[in-house]
């Protein structure tokens, strides 16, 4: 744990060194698409008869609140740029970790802890700014319990994303370049998680299928919890689904890492 705490401290200091870059990459990141989609929704609802029209179970003011939730919740979702493991594999720098008296994965986990710690502050900041600017349109959680449940789902889901990106990074033991896989995974997670339109607004069959995938419980479900559209039974189902995914993803990560190390020669590219 001491190692985890120390490594987390280093990661944090590194992150906030370039302040403008920090603002651009961490605070504004992920805000563009949802805000642009608001204009699209506005036009769509106008053609449907106005803000009061209900499309796929959502009115326009509810969509605005969903987007507000998206701006906050997406901050907590571990992103594809969060790890440099593939570069370390390419350059043969993994060797130094193999002779150290602790597993390399702890350092990666420290990156995750740093990410969550920092992004919780950023998410709170974004929520506060939004609430101060447009309180009548902003998402206000229906209850403290809903907030805790949403936070739990978002963080569990974020850890799933971390495991996915770690495993893709570890694919660098076999592949020469992996950034396109990372970007692809990020696209898919965002889309099927409801990062563009709410999953419950997608066609019924699609939405039902996506409720078995972890991205829905990482992005869309926490927002719906905050809005009061779903409650404790759905939260419990989400915990079960995420628990299952965590088990599968952790197993895949371990196998990938072990097999990768078996073919690692320490010389890099």
């Amino acid at each position: 744990m001491r190692l985890l705490a120390a490594a987390t401290g280093y990661e944090l200091r590194k992150k906030i060194q370039f302040r403008v870059g920090f603002l651009v990459r961490e605070v504004l990141n992920g805000a563009v698409e949802p805000l642009v989609m608001l204009f699209v929704y506005r036009a769509l609802y106008r053609s449907a008869g106005g803000d009061g029209a209900r499309l796929g179970g959502w009115t326009y003011p509810e969509i605005v609140q969903y987007v507000a939730g998206l701006l906050v919740v997406r901050k907590l979702v571990f992103n594809e740029r969060g790890l440099e493991l593939s570069t370390e594999i390419f350059e043969g720098r993994v060797t130094k970790y193999l002779v150290m008296p602790f597993p390399y994965f702890v350092l990666a986990q420290a990156r995750f802890v740093q990410f969550v710690g920092l992004q919780l502050v950023v998410a709170l900041l974004v929520w506060g700014i939004g609430y101060a600017a447009v309180p009548e349109h902003w998402l206000v959680p229906v209850s403290g319990l809903a907030t805790l449940q949403a936070l739990a789902l978002a963080l569990l889901g974020s850890y799933c994303c971390f495991l996915v990106y770690f495993t893709i990074n570890a694919a660098a033991f076999w592949l020469d370049v992996i950034w396109s896989l990372l970007v692809m995974a990020a696209f898919v997670i965002l889309f099927i998680g409801g990062g563009t339109i709410p999953v419950s607004q997608m066609p019924e069959g699609v939405a039902d299928a996506l409720r078995w995938a972890f991205p829905y419980w990482t992005i869309s479900a926490p927002i719906e919890l905050l809005l009061g559209r779903i409650g404790t039974p759905e939260f419990l189902r989400g915990v079960l689904v995420l628990g299952g995914w965590l088990t599968v993803l952790e197993t895949v990560r371990r196998v990938t890492w072990r097999r990768g190390l078996a073919r690692y020669v320490g010389a890099g590219m």
Partner: protein, 263 residues
């Protein structure tokens, strides 16, 4: 410049012949991007029922929107094919890696931004053109008012895309290692991927005349569909030429700040 471009293309093919899996991955990656975009709009239109004209986006029906996306994809593929180096500009500037491009014969912007010819981008350009063709064929008979303008519209799109990259890179020249160029580029790209009619009129005008991302998909698709007044359609390219001149000039001047050791 043609000789240099030939070399860039040759190097691009050699590079990808060494990274074959990556070639496939990058083609797949852009296909995922296309599919997610197509599904987003198909799902949105589906909310109004299965009829094509049930809902619209600022006057754009579902078939028209498919054409719009076709131009957005083609425009993006042009960017990925010829100008992929733009994503590295901020880091290269910080690391002082522009020296070689300033001493070689030819404009620095051309030598730098065109250096990474992408065969996978070209493959995606073919796929994007396929979607554009599908969208054109799927339109109601008679709704394509000026189909003969398609080649000119595509050339104009490519022209604007090139100078948008140069113009947006200027942000990096003035705010070093901030990623602001990426952010502005991302914002501009996202705004340009939706019809301008969905935005407030001031923002639409900004996206047409100041930062003309509207010229990449909105102008060519509106032109083909006959949504534009003839005088505006004829004069608008002057605005994009003016933007190109301003972007090139600011970039040249901004480059004077470069001193090889900026990080």
């Amino acid at each position: 410049m043609l000789a240099i471009q030939r070399q860039y293309v040759r190097i691009g093919w050699i590079r990808k012949s060494q990274f074959r899996v990556e070639f496939i991955n990058q083609v797949l990656m852009d296909c995922v991007f296309y599919v997610s975009f197509i599904l987003t709009f198909e799902f949105l239109f589906e909310l109004g029922g299965s009829g094509d004209a049930a809902l619209d986006l600022g006057g754009w029906t579902r078939p028209e929107m498919r054409l719009y996306l076709g131009f957005a994809f083609v425009s993006d593929a042009v960017l990925m094919t010829l100008l992929g180096q733009q994503w590295h500009f901020g880091a290269d500037l910080k690391d002082g890696k522009l020296d070689a491009f300033r001493t070689k014969p030819g404009p620095t912007a051309y030598l730098y931004f065109f250096q990474r010819f992408s065969p996978e981008g070209l493959t995606n350009l073919i796929i994007a053109s396929g979607w554009l063709t599908y969208a054109l064929v799927g339109l109601e008979p008679g709704s394509v008012a000026h189909g003969w303008l398609l080649p000119l519209a595509l050339l104009h799109t490519a022209f604007v895309q090139i100078f948008l990259v140069i113009g947006l890179a200027c942000f990096e020249l003035f705010v070093l290692h901030s990623g602001i160029g990426h952010l502005v580029s991302h914002i501009a790209g996202s705004l340009g991927e939706r019809p301008l009619e969905v935005y407030p009129s001031a923002l639409s005008r900004f996206l047409l005349f100041v930062l003309p991302v509207g010229a990449t998909a909105w102008y060519p698709s509106s032109l083909l569909l006959g949504k534009l007044d003839l005088p505006f359609a004829a004069v608008y390219p002057l605005a994009t030429v003016t933007f190109a001149w301003v972007a090139a000039t600011v970039f040249r001047r901004g480059l004077r700040r470069y001193d090889s050791a900026m990080g």
